[in-house]
Symmetry: C2
Subunit: 612 residues, 2 copies
């Protein structure tokens, strides 16, 4: 047997082992995706045995290659690979999908060998782009391998990634597309036409290789070819879903189902094997360098002046970039509006232009943070809705992301509702374990920007286009979960809870109300999640009247956060929520606030009615 | 002057007029996008004068061509076209971006000549796909023209549309890409490389034409060529941003700004013109046929049995399709899971497979409804987050959409959190004027499915994977804004407000609590928005204790809706919200409900604590 023949036999043998283990795990679970695992088994066998450079005992080494299952439903194949690599044992493998097991239906970083959560299709490749950027920035020789399904190629986010990866020249990225012809409900759009995929992906500047995904020699060659490119490579592998078991092979209607006769299938696949694979070591075993961050030169805007919170963010971001070499920024072609352009000019190698592709932008941030970087992602608050599913999955994966949405609310003025973030607070508050911050002045924005660098999970900063009065000194502190009582006395007849642009409107209203003999308290609830529930409850108890006011739809924002804190906790409180209820059109910023009923005059009227 | 020369001169002259009007409108507004209008002015002049078939006095004629400004920020150009067509007068034109004007910063259907809202980039083309499908289904000879920016080609949703339009064979669709080289912050990824775009878009199966977008003869020819194709056509027009004014032409830093010296610019463009264009009449002047819907054969599941609400939806959808020939369905390659497959089999020509491309799916629905169809769009609830921005824009545009999300909540079981819709209620409740419905049994689901057909705006139906007990008869009515009190007495010590899967858990809990001598009321709040606030307030007032329980994150769902209805309205109510607070893993459905603390046992415990 020649060396090539021996190698081919090894791949084929391991492919069968991976199939057997995927079939067994799914059978034991009573659910799962064996057929989608079987199509890609030879591809993964070839990768694991000859081309992946990885130390399974030290999964977080920067020099390790990265493997992302973009087709996350093929998790039994991934777990079979971990079994073959000796990372998990037989007993562990068979806990797949059981209560408490870390071998979930779709992979999550509860497993140390999994960097990011997948399972919503079309996300692994955009995240892989971020990983490849992160590896290159670290000077790591690691390669990023992404196993993709053919069905998920229909997701636009994949094309954002194909464009971005070529643009960034990511020769360290390889997409392995398992073209098994069958989706969930039937054939995919292009079935086995790998030439169609090659023409499309090649048109985006990728190197493409079309192979028979069950031919071990071709698989081996394709990976070697990918490693020689200085552009990203897509391996388009024609495969058969359910490969190796006649009753399942290339059959419709078997997606996401354990095989009917699994024991017979295991026999057909040659029985249970227990081969242990020796995986190539990482190309570098250097540990992660610790890059100490310096004290940050905190920007300061003069009290009494006015400045936009987006400027506070932008200036702080640049200072943070100077102090902390791990901070990186991704933006969606609006850096001049979001104010990340100062960072871009100062640190061009740590700024990644994702163009108008918000899913790729968040995907890149998820990939970068998985490689130890501290990403800030920024675009208009409204357009972050484009990346909602990526944010949802990032929360599932426990990613540490800092997201900044500019141009929040009606106060942007004449551009109209398409550009107004009016649901961003609802979206970010609903994310698991998120932090939601909404500064009212530039110094507060700067402080919160710096604070976010150290926060785990997803934190969101909402900024405002318009200038607002600077009311805090540059050296004041704003802890997450805190609030500021800006006006108050023992005789207050109501408390106004505001944040962001409505803080100055509330202060104006409080002055006018005081002139009318109605003293009110004003709380700046800059930390919308977690909310300073104690302070707000106390104010509610003391005044008996709570008015919330926000530049956001009435659902899911500040008002609802306050309700959640106060309801049932403080007896006999009257409550009123001011928010944007009608659909805005175009108008100037002040006109918009007045039309929406969230300006000083509206607040005065609301308090007058509330204290009757 | 030859005919061709005369025609060319007409286009060039009108192009200058459109530029002048765009410049003047933006100057008067003090904001807006004249430079992005000027690049496309010749393209639109050529379309308006020779190729658009449209009756401006009867904009809703099915035979009218459709023009979508996917680059919605070029609205001054659109308004200048309306001015040239005599649809709006000079005075009206100059209200652009003013308070109360229907000439908004980005186009909305407040204008009768605008079918859908644009302004979030990358949406016009996917919507255009839906329009072209709708026109073809109606037998209308209308063509759909979509003006796209070059920057927005980076959006993945554009590639979903390129793939879908080719797949559907939409020869009646033409994308006019204004390749003006400059985005907001600087050059686009491919600048003037129209060949790069042509290769990419051509690779997806479109006919492509590369032209100089300021050459009137080439423009004319390109439109004529597009009209001859039986596949969709992309015209890739190399243009100059700010064309015609030296100080602005092809200059960076002028995106979204009125020209500095607008009066001088108008002079440079040849001064104010007032030409009135004669536009080609529609190819058909037939009015919309009224297709009367028959009484629907309402499905009925036997009370006391069990069935999944997704099945109630699926069966009702098929019956509705039979009764109402305007009902169409779009799905994201999960029809077997969502249960739209019965409709698909029964009415294959009214079912559109969008594959795994949720943005295109919602875009298609928006386009179809603009052509008078009644679309239902369905995928897993979790994956609807992918289309959040499309839903946001659909709300701005006043689109009538029915959206159905299956596999809501932890009760799906072992597939894990990536497949669980746990933020869909928050997302849909926050949409402007949305209706959110969440049935607990299959008969209720069927009824609500039929009800949605007549609802304006965006309505959302949340369905469940698992079977639940059938508790309602098939002939019962469930009005939007209503609720059902399932258990109750004058002695109730608390009210449990539930919806969907938690209704049966609550009923089980109520039985056990009754056995313990704690009578409780159970309300099925199937209409989460609008909520039956009156009934819930009354129950809260009568019992003094409110427990909400939902298979959703604690933010933005049923509990918050109830809080909003009760807080400050009913004195002295204690409140507790049960929801999913920890990140689920894989487990069986019952295990998931128990782990999340939203099953019968958890409800019993919570009520016991609440009534102490």
């Amino acid at each position: 047997m020649s060396v090539i023949e021996a190698r081919a036999s090894d791949i084929t043998e391991l492919g069968q082992q991976l199939r057997v283990d995927a079939v067994r795990a799914s059978a034991r679970a009573g659910s799962g995706h064996p057929t989608s695992s079987m199509s890609a088994a030879d591809l993964m066998a070839g990768l694991l045995t000859g081309h992946l450079h990885y130390d399974f005992e030290h999964p977080h080494l920067p020099g390790n290659d990265r493997l992302v299952f973009s087709k996350g439903h093929a998790s039994p194949l991934l777990y079979a690979m971990l079994h073959a690599a000796g990372a998990i044992d037989e007993e562990h493998l068979l806990t797949y999908r059981k209560l408490g097991s870390d071998l979930e239906g779709h992979p999550t970083p509860r497993l140390p060998w999994v960097d990011v959560a997948t399972g919503s299709l079309g996300q692994g490749l955009p995240i892989g782009v971020g990983m490849a950027l992160g590896a290159r920035l670290s000077g790591s020789p690691a390669r990023v391998w992404v196993l993709c399904g053919d069905g998920e190629i229909a997701e636009g986010s994949m094309w954002e990634a194909f464009a971005a990866a070529a643009d960034f020249g990511l020769g360290n990225l390889c997409a392995i597309v398992d073209v098994n012809r069958l989706g969930q409900t039937g054939p995919t759009r292009y079935e086995w036409d790998t030439a169609a995929y090659a023409s499309q992906i090649g048109g985006f500047g990728w190197h493409t290789v079309e192979i028979d995904g069950h031919d071990p020699v071709a698989i081996d060659r394709a990976y070697a070819e990918a490693a020689r490119q200085d552009v990203p490579t897509a391996i388009l592998a024609k495969t058969r879903k359910g490969k190796g078991v006649a009753a399942a092979e290339d059959k419709e209607g078997l997606h996401g189902k354990p095989l009917a006769e699994s024991e017979k299938a295991v026999v057909e696949l040659g029985g249970v094997r227990g081969a242990r694979v020796r995986v190539n070591p990482p190309r570098s075993s250097e540990p992660r360098r610790s890059r100490p961050s310096l004290p940050m030169a905190h920007p300061s805007f003069p009290v009494g002046g006015s400045a936009a919170t987006r400027d506070g963010f932008g200036v702080a971001l640049e200072a943070l970039g100077d102090a902390n070499p791990d901070v990186v920024v991704v933006d969606g072609e609006v850096a001049d509006s979001t104010r990340t352009d100062a960072f871009r000019k100062a640190f061009p190698n740590r700024f990644f232009e994702c163009y108008i592709a918000e899913q790729q932008m968040i995907g890149a941030a998820v990939g970068l943070q998985s490689q130890g970087w501290i990403p800030y992602a920024s675009t208009f608050a409204a357009f972050l809705t484009r990346a909602h599913d990526f944010l949802r999955m990032a929360a599932i994966g426990g990613a540490d992301l800092r997201v900044v949405g500019s141009h929040a609310g009606v106060s942007i003025g004449a551009d109209g509702p398409s550009q107004m973030g009016l649901e961003d607070l609802a979206m970010f508050r609903a994310l698991w374990r998120s932090v939601v911050l909404y500064p009212c002045d530039a110094n507060q924005a700067a402080h919160l920007t710096a604070t976010m660098a150290d926060l785990p999970g997803i934190s969101y900063l909402r900024t405002t286009r318009a200038e607002t009065p600077v009311i805090y000194r540059g050296d004041e502190l704003f802890p997450v979960g805190g609030s500021r009582t800006l006006v108050g006395s023992a005789h207050d007849r109501a408390v106004i809870v505001a944040a962001g642009i409505t803080v100055s409107e509330s202060l104006g209203a409080a002055e006018r109300l005081a002139d009318e003999g109605i003293p009110v308290r004003v709380i700046d609830a800059y930390s919308i999640k977690p909310l300073d529930a104690a302070a707000i409850r106390q104010a509610a108890a003391e005044t008996g009247r709570v008015l919330t006011v926000e530049d956001h739809w009435p659902v899911g924002g500040l008002g609802d956060a306050v309700l959640d804190a106060v309801a049932g906790q403080v007896p006999d409180v009257r409550f009123r929520k001011l928010a944007v209820r009608g659909m805005p059109g175009s108008a100037g910023p002040a006109e918009q606030l007045a039309s929406a009923g969230i300006d000083s005059a509206a607040i005065v009227r609301a308090v007058q009615r509330l204290v009757v």
